[in-house]
């Protein structure tokens, strides 16, 4: 193949990887790994000039921001969490219906006195008086949390960064509540957590994004339109 005219970041692991592979298959441009199975580069069959970069969904956000890939498939949650200027960095080309999940505020379900964000501020004031410190919110979504709490008028808290198994943290006692991603809510319920009534921060899913920082020449634009067109016609298919 001649040197690639367009690069696209595709998740390299987890469910999103399999789902993305399936969607390219359906769109008639299946992923073909280059070389051995676990390589980091691939091509789209039937679409010359496209290089697929296989990497993590979080890394794809950075590659898009820096313009090192033209296109990328990743979650809206990661885009909104990571990029300070979303509209100045990426364009939403096609929602893919994959990786649907909600970013929510969840508290222990024994907090029967707390059902809304406003209750949280009152509980935070009480907690500070009783314990001499702020309520702690465990999350990997530090920026989404800060923005949402500020918009809801909640200020008496602090964030502790969580790298995994966030839903188990309140019971363990290293934080009092969490902001986390959930699909069905089963894991939250199993950990005796409840979502606040007005605690939905973001309804997220995976999108095809275009980087505004990448070099867009005519052939890259043409390939972008082809890929976006093919993926968009699939929208709503199972």
């Amino acid at each position: 193949m001649a040197s690639p005219k367009l690069s696209i970041g595709v998740p390299s692991k987890g469910r999103l990887k399999d789902q993305a592979a399936a969607i390219f298959e359906k769109a008639g441009i299946p992923l073909r790994n280059k070389g051995h199975e676990r390589g980091y580069r691939a091509t789209l069959d039937g679409l010359d000039g496209v290089e697929v970069v296989l990497t993590s969904a979080a890394e794809i956000v950075h590659e898009l921001k820096l313009g090192r890939v033209h296109l990328g498939i990743t979650g809206e949650d990661l885009i909104r969490e990571t990029l300070a200027d979303v509209d100045g960095s990426v364009e939403f080309l096609a929602p893919l219906g994959l990786g649907r999940a909600n970013v929510v505020v969840a508290v222990p379900d024994c907090w029967i006195d707390v059902t809304r964000m406003a209750d949280l501020e009152d509980a935070a004031a009480q907690f500070a008086r009783a314990h001499g410190r702020r309520l702690r919110v465990a999350t990997k979504y530090m920026n989404l949390t800060r923005r949402f709490f500020a918009a809801s008028g909640v200020a008496g808290y602090r964030i502790v960064e969580s790298v995994g198994a966030t839903e188990a943290i309140p019971a363990a006692g290293t934080a009092e509540l969490i902001v986390d991603i959930t699909t069905t809510g089963t894991t939250l319920r199993a950990n005796h957590l409840k979502v606040l009534e007005d605690g939905l921060i973001l309804k997220s899913q995976a999108h095809l994004f275009a980087s505004l920082a990448a070099p867009w020449d005519a052939s890259a634009k043409k390939l972008r339109d082809t890929i976006a067109g093919r993926l968009n016609t699939l929208r709503g298919l199972p």
Partner: protein, 391 residues
């Protein structure tokens, strides 16, 4: 990223020497607290809004640290290290860098790395004199650096507390209003909410539970709440205790039973928070509001007015100055007088120096008791820029 921390290095150094001379002549000992600080104390005391602008990092040992976003907390820690019993008065001054992320961009008016020169005074029991001294010294310092045509802006959360305490309000509302002072947008919503007396979920299961509780018998109430949790299969987990959950349900019960906040009282609080005028006029207006509300605010108001008189006697011109009841600064550790030295300039560019009283902070960071404390810090880059603009 900027390659230099300060462009006008020599001019800043010369200015800092002059400022420190003023402080040292007044009996303040120069100290140099650590630039790297434990993040915990800042995050617990100052909150997430400042964290979002603080450079927080984890070192190789796994400790969460930060580059100090301000010098008041580091100097307070230094005082406690030297005087763990917090029983000795001490006056410190300093000049050194502080660091804050600038969301819009790192520029000359908003450098991410800037120098603060300031003073902190701990353990001075005569608070009125200490307040006057801190303001007067900050004013003298910026004057000595060549600043002219500036004015002061004052606030005093202590006066708000005195006002709220004088109103006939249930304790739970007082606590709420004290807390919401720091949430200027939310306090008006809270007031109209209390005045309407409408409660969400008035018929929900938790409200039904709350109605079975007894405000005079917290122990029995806790038992009832524990039984409710047990019946519903809601195990008590985490750090909030049964008595905390019960206390908030008892507050809810109090609200359900109470008459709504009288409209006149809500209006009076709104009037109070709208006062913004030259100090003398502000005192008169607050006195009138208090009189209208039928409350006695004379002793705190008198003490309040005396500080301004003493400042004027000390040669501080308050002609262009303002006192605003709502002016409270964004650091929640302030507990009394707060002030700012300002010049023309958009946004915070004109804020040359600021300070205030923070009597609660030292107990929160490990002192065995509350320690009277007041400080002031000068943003030295802004001071230099303002002086040079005038020249």
């Amino acid at each position: 990223m900027a390659a230099e921390s300060a462009r006008k290095f020599e001019a800043l150094e010369a200015q800092a020497t002059a400022l420190l001379d003023v402080f040292k002549r007044a009996g303040y000992e120069q100290v140099a607290p650590s630039i790297i600080q434990p993040a915990d104390i800042f995050l617990d005391q100052i909150g997430e809004q400042v964290r979002s602008r603080t450079y927080v990092f984890t070192d190789l040992a796994g400790d969460e640290l930060c580059l100090r976003p301000d010098l008041t907390v580091p100097v307070s820690r230094l005082y406690l290290e030297r005087h763990p019993e917090a029983d000795t008065p001490a006056r410190y001054c300093y000049n050194g860098p502080a660091f804050r992320f600038q969301p819009d961009r790192n520029n000359q008016a908003h450098p991410r790395e800037f120098r603060q020169a300031g003073i902190e005074s701990f353990g001075e029991k005569d608070k009125e004199s200490a307040d006057v001294e801190a303001v007067a010294l900050a004013v003298e310092a910026v004057r000595s650096a060549g600043l002219k045509n500036f004015w002061l802006r004052f606030g005093d959360i202590g006066l708000f507390y005195a006002f709220i305490d004088a109103l006939a309000l249930p304790e739970r509302w007082r606590l709420k209003l004290r807390h919401y002072f720091w949430r200027p947008q939310a306090i008006h919503t809270l007031l109209s909410h209390l005045a309407r007396g409408e409660w969400p979920d008035a018929e929900g299961p938790v409200t039904v539970l709350a109605r079975t509780l007894n405000r005079d018998d917290p122990e029995k109430s806790e038992e009832l709440v524990a039984r409710y949790l047990d019946d519903k299969g809601l195990p008590l987990a985490g750090n909030r205790t049964l008595s905390e959950i019960t206390a908030r349900l008892l507050d809810l019960l109090g609200d359900l039973r109470a008459e709504p906040l009288r409209k006149e009282v809500a209006t009076v609080i709104d009037y109070f928070l709208a006062v913004s005028a030259p100090p003398k006029e502000a005192v008169e207006r607050i006195a009138m509001i208090a009189k209208g509300a039928g409350i006695d605010l004379a002793p705190p108001l008198k003490a309040f007015a005396r500080r301004f008189e003493r400042l004027e006697q000390g040669g501080v011109d308050l002609g262009k100055s303002t006192f605003a009841t709502e002016f409270g600064r964004s650091f929640e550790y302030y507990s009394g007088l707060v002030f700012q030295i300002e010049v023309e300039g958009e946004g915070d560019v004109g804020q040359i120096a600021g300070g205030g009283r923070y009597d609660g902070l030292l107990a929160h960071i490990g002192a065995p008791r509350e320690v009277p404390a007041i400080g002031a810090a000068i943003h030295t880059e802004r001071l230099l820029a303002a002086v040079e603009r005038r020249a």
